[in-house]
Subunit: 350 residues, 3 copies
Amino acid sequence: MRDYAQPQFSLAEIVERFGGELVGDGSVAIRQVATLSSAGEGHFSFLANPKYRSQLSSTGASAVVVAQADKELARIPHILSTNPYAYYARVAALLNPPDTAPPGIHATAVVGKDAEIAASASIGPNVVVGDGAVIGEYAQIGAGCFIGAHTEVGTQTRFYPNVTVYHGCLIGERTIVHSGAVIGSDGFGLANEKGCWLKIPQIGRVRIGNDVEIGANTTIDRGALDDTVIEDGVKLDNQIQIAHNVHIGAHTAMAGCVGVAGSTRIGSHCTVAGSAMIIGHLEIADRVNISVGTLVTKSINQPGTYTSSIPSQPHRDWLKNAAQLHHLTDLAERVKQLEQKLSQLEGKSS
Amino acid sequence: MRDYAQPQFSLAEIVERFGGELVGDGSVAIRQVATLSSAGEGHFSFLANPKYRSQLSSTGASAVVVAQADKELARIPHILSTNPYAYYARVAALLNPPDTAPPGIHATAVVGKDAEIAASASIGPNVVVGDGAVIGEYAQIGAGCFIGAHTEVGTQTRFYPNVTVYHGCLIGERTIVHSGAVIGSDGFGLANEKGCWLKIPQIGRVRIGNDVEIGANTTIDRGALDDTVIEDGVKLDNQIQIAHNVHIGAHTAMAGCVGVAGSTRIGSHCTVAGSAMIIGHLEIADRVNISVGTLVTKSINQPGTYTSSIPSQPHRDWLKNAAQLHHLTDLAERVKQLEQKLSQLEGKSS
Amino acid sequence: MRDYAQPQFSLAEIVERFGGELVGDGSVAIRQVATLSSAGEGHFSFLANPKYRSQLSSTGASAVVVAQADKELARIPHILSTNPYAYYARVAALLNPPDTAPPGIHATAVVGKDAEIAASASIGPNVVVGDGAVIGEYAQIGAGCFIGAHTEVGTQTRFYPNVTVYHGCLIGERTIVHSGAVIGSDGFGLANEKGCWLKIPQIGRVRIGNDVEIGANTTIDRGALDDTVIEDGVKLDNQIQIAHNVHIGAHTAMAGCVGVAGSTRIGSHCTVAGSAMIIGHLEIADRVNISVGTLVTKSINQPGTYTSSIPSQPHRDWLKNAAQLHHLTDLAERVKQLEQKLSQLEGKSS
């Protein structure tokens, strides 16, 4: 855990910033966040999951944020909030502002002609900015990033080192892109001619909104003709593959290793759990949740949770069940015949 | 969609280049491709999927390519082709030639001793070329790429920025490698000795043929003793993992997130859909199609389509079915007992 | 296969180094390793898998290592070992020492203030080392790597080109990290507030032990509050995703494309086969083996092998079985009714 010199706030100052009801001594000094079980002097913690209630009485934290329902349990200075976890997120962000690089263009960076780089932006070592690219105010482009020609990066957006963005893409404001991510690579567009594949030029772009976060080594292909679109507030974890012409609605979140195939349109406020795969040309409604490891092969027009994954068993048990899996049609047929025969027998015996 | 100044061709010039039968005014000017529904003045479109037939009468395109079967539907200038989608691919490529970087070695590139770089090749900013590497005519090596010692890159091959190729690999001609791809990393070769893993040096290479395309963040490991081989015309999408000593036959295509484990040999003209996984030491025949999300655990010696994936259901339904999945052996056993008892009963009652 | 000038050893010298029982002429010169089937003059091979026994009599190898049980089969000079494959690994490593870069900091590298770089370490072209980072003796940092501020890299550790390590991480000794790997990126920590996601700062670190190997394009996120930990001797293949606060026990190995979700704790000496997925907040015991493509959704407290994957079938067969899969609850209910009715009938007919 990071425990450098921090900005430090009193509990009262925190309530003044973020609201909630202060109960107890508002003068206690808060300098870091921690879990209930590991917190000590100067730490601010939270209770969001009922299963940790018992830890509240023994925590070493100096203060805590809890829901109204748990207020009786808190014997230390605390804040009552309708959403303790979100409150904790705000306090954590207050106490841990991201390190920022100094403004200016590093001597080793290579900047193309007609590129526009805001004076307050930071362009790190060995960055390459293509011709006509635009880098907004307070943007931070980490070491070794490549920003293609005519790509635009919005205000306060941050690229960690070694991000690659191809030409002609649009990245919004306050967006974070982690290392190794590739944005704007060619979509997988091929036509088959007598057994060989002809490449179809990918002339769309990638358009990414504001307040998006894109994980390490995630890839987002440019559109074939129209654009691939990631709307505001979308959060993508690591190693996600977004194919050409996919459209992801605002505030949708996807966990690691998810794949979305071409031209699929996903609604807003969806969640897609790890390793799920959504095939191409589907429409997924708003507020749909896809479970871990699930394969989606049809459009979904109702909110709700959808699943296809199979949990593991001890191998010996699984072997037997998996063998049956390949004979389900037979089994169903045998049950049908049993039903018919039994029905005949019942007729006779009645 | 890109709509810069383009090269521009008349419909007659296009037919002269690519064949097909011209019907209607050959003088119409074509400057970009588009889908039937979005096309306007100057756009060339195509009808390959019967489900879009109704769009043909209302399209704003200036010209279109269609199959003989659809010729009655086309009221605008059109080309008749036996393969409209491939024809469209060729026209799209004609109208959208890739941007090319100027020949020469950027001042910030670092080139090892005895490396041979063709005068017509373009070596971008911050590229590192190892000792004895060979870069062919008109090859384009994007910013930040690393080309290991004694690796050879063929004529007209293009590496987008931040590609890494280890030492001693061979990359063919007209091959495209997208950003973040890693070629020639060590295969996962380990021997267990008293619970600890000993690394086995990986001394094979990666050999990649001509006209191959490799997607963003795809990884191809070098062979343990012999080489990992990707034959001519293979197309690999993003985030694919090809393990050591895999052999992929010519003109096979794989979609995103596929994994192929060590020493598996895949035939020619196969397709592998997204997220499929093929285990090691298998032989897959030519013209095999593996479905999305499928796990292949045995060799396949017949062409055809193979599947194991399970489509998603609403979570509540799935929960019940998944619970049964772990009791399939029991269910089969119960059906067997029912059959025996019923057979006894039938004996009695007949 | 690499066949440059090698160090060369006599069979007797090899036995002197690595033990085992020498049978036959110890003076034969060994200069490379090879498989039984491809070996020739000067090659050293091994027999570890009984299925290759027949190749032993016809191999062109100059010498071979075999188990006691196979000693009758070996007609060429050979070594008897209790673990022929591990023995082979040691000989292969002896004959193929990794290429090493010369010590020193390349002129194009950018080194932050107060960074400590050992004189024997090699810092390649375009490497960026952050403020206060520490690079140990004989460490090798390949071209284009980024080492964040205050990150520490141990003695003899090797980073291949284009690795990214964020700030404040600890990497042990003799560890190997392949190209495109990203270590220390932010974990996927979000709090939902009225439908929008608030980012939770990730202030833990990544701590990686000694003798670890991390594959190409693998990602390991930093912890939210505490650290993500990879213990000594862990081997991770390519394109693995390790989420925040995961703990992987010593000498555990994971094959390509595996995902481990947040806060899961995996024991020592486990193996996880390709494309397996382990969800978050689980405890996996020591010596657990997870099969290929398996989804683990519950903690596992017993050693053994666990599986959930389904092998592929010809598509037509699968279609029928998959249709049944969605009606398993119905099928089970019908079997139950059959049992009840049959029981009534048996009552009547007896």
